[in-house]
Subunit: 387 residues, 2 copies
Amino acid sequence: MQNFDYHTPTRLIFGKDVIKELPEVMNQFGKKILLTYGGGSIKKIGLYDKVKELLKDFDIYELSGIEPNPKYDPSVLDGVKMCKENDVDVILAVGGGSVLDCSKAIAAGAKYDGDPWDLISYQVKAKDALPIVDIITLAATGSEYDAGGVISRTETNDKIGYVDPLLFPAVSFLDPTYTFTVSKKQTAAGCADAMNHIMEQYFCEDSTLLNDGFMEAGLKSLMINAKKCLDNPEDYNARAEMMLTCTYGCNGIYSLGNSQSGWPLHGMEHALSAYYDITHGEGLAIITPRWMKHVLSEKTVDRFVKYGVNVFNIDPSLDKMDIANKAIEETYKFFESINIPMHLREVGIDESRIDEMAHHVAINEGLDEAWVPLQEKDISDIFRASL
Amino acid sequence: MQNFDYHTPTRLIFGKDVIKELPEVMNQFGKKILLTYGGGSIKKIGLYDKVKELLKDFDIYELSGIEPNPKYDPSVLDGVKMCKENDVDVILAVGGGSVLDCSKAIAAGAKYDGDPWDLISYQVKAKDALPIVDIITLAATGSEYDAGGVISRTETNDKIGYVDPLLFPAVSFLDPTYTFTVSKKQTAAGCADAMNHIMEQYFCEDSTLLNDGFMEAGLKSLMINAKKCLDNPEDYNARAEMMLTCTYGCNGIYSLGNSQSGWPLHGMEHALSAYYDITHGEGLAIITPRWMKHVLSEKTVDRFVKYGVNVFNIDPSLDKMDIANKAIEETYKFFESINIPMHLREVGIDESRIDEMAHHVAINEGLDEAWVPLQEKDISDIFRASL
């Protein structure tokens, strides 16, 4: 087992109607709130009105229209400006992972005198950040329980995972009923994103019985519950279990003491969604089985055997390579079964920029230190196999 | 799924030689430290000298001799007095769960003007507590990652679980090498304690795929790794995995959203070790299979089937009651295989005070609201079956 330093100070308030505690929670941080949200789905489900009603005694400034794959310009820059101009005490992010990721960058930028990009690009270490509270409306990224966010900068095709312990939300509200209206497409993409968060930790050199069991349970739970949510979008227990399983995704709890995997799938997918602005979870689902095939070898086969036997109940008496290949096929078939487009061409990506993206990944993502090291050629091969 | 409010702000610093970070960590809290420890095993393994050397620039006051099943009088009272007289900034607990539990009660008592028993017995809610840092030397209680402690008061035979969010350790250092010298008896008892923490959460009305998988993995990990530790006390990976699995035991992470079980085994065992000062983990191991037999019924059998199939790989095609009974038998055989005395008489408990203890439990532990409600007669029957 590897040494680790683990600290997740976020408070999770989970369940139906927990939002009633919002005023008391916000009061701990101050009266001036920057309310951040996306394209308006929180208005459709009545959550916007509910929040405004609950916080009628607070001063609320609003940043709306935060994009999926949230943008440095305008969203982060606008939010930072609003915080500084209005002396905001706390950010309340209401929405999915993109809204919260963007809010984290705003929280750090608001307490920094220079260009927030200095922080996001790790040229300067933040010294302070505004506190963040969130109400999460999508089961996917786990941003509600981690210290990171992913920010895109259009003009440079950068999509950077910005992580700093200052960015843990202070409090995350998770009410599964807010996910009842999430579309089938986004439900499936959220499931794929969360499965990938687990797989990025599962496929590594050293793990433990405890972590493997936890992660295998997480993967099975996501697959079973995603199907239930697609069949019946208002299945409370299925939405709730999906929400919690996603929440654990990125703060490390699934794999404390494991060796590092290098998160190769996220490293590659960030280029796809930076260059083409596709749905992150779909990008991940498409490249995952192709990456698996690419890295399967005599050296890695045992890990795939464990995955196949424990997650897909494949007969352990079969030949090891057969189990591994069958596990990869089952992974593909699962994503297909929840109607994820399984070819890059289906989401608008053709061959034209593959080498450019592979070059970008090779330079920026450090995947030559991943569980199975990936060079530029490996990355472009995986992209091509995904077309 | 049930609603929940989860917040575990403790930082875990885990692994070989992590103690080198101790001075930097302690500096965050102040210069005046109350160092608490037990019977001196930390001196035998050189940890006491190491701590003193690392903290040579701090003012250290020492409370030693904290008992297993730590006592309100003298340990808690002495510690509170020392903190108040010396204006202590932070408590450093070095040892097992008992030392840490006692230190938590001291931390609250030090910031309270009245009799600390007011706090422990929930007559008064603490408003503040000293920060606590710990270096844990025994894989068992999980006190290093929860907000509770168990304190015994000899003259009244009380053994109370005192829980308050103020009591989370700020930082827990976990170096598995400190557990290399733990005796076979204590290694086995620690395993039994930790298994029971999981079983107390597993046996309930409603759980999820995620939690069940996590807990089943925890139980299997404990059983396999305890045997490895007994065979080779310096097996680093086995000690490390046991340590982490134990750490999760009592803060709720194994069962977020599950219905409550009422922790019946701990409720009953607290009387045994309060009246007879036996080793807590041994008391738990002895009563567990007897409790299981007592509560097994057509209504509860499915939970035992899941336990038997997933934890002990019992053939799922067998009759349900047969699977359940076999699972209970396997539980007993496992505890026996790690040389835990499996009868109360072997740890010095005879029939004489069984009814008195059952009465005490029935009045104080609220087990009539447990997963399977237990009345006084049930409790004395379980104790008698354990003789």
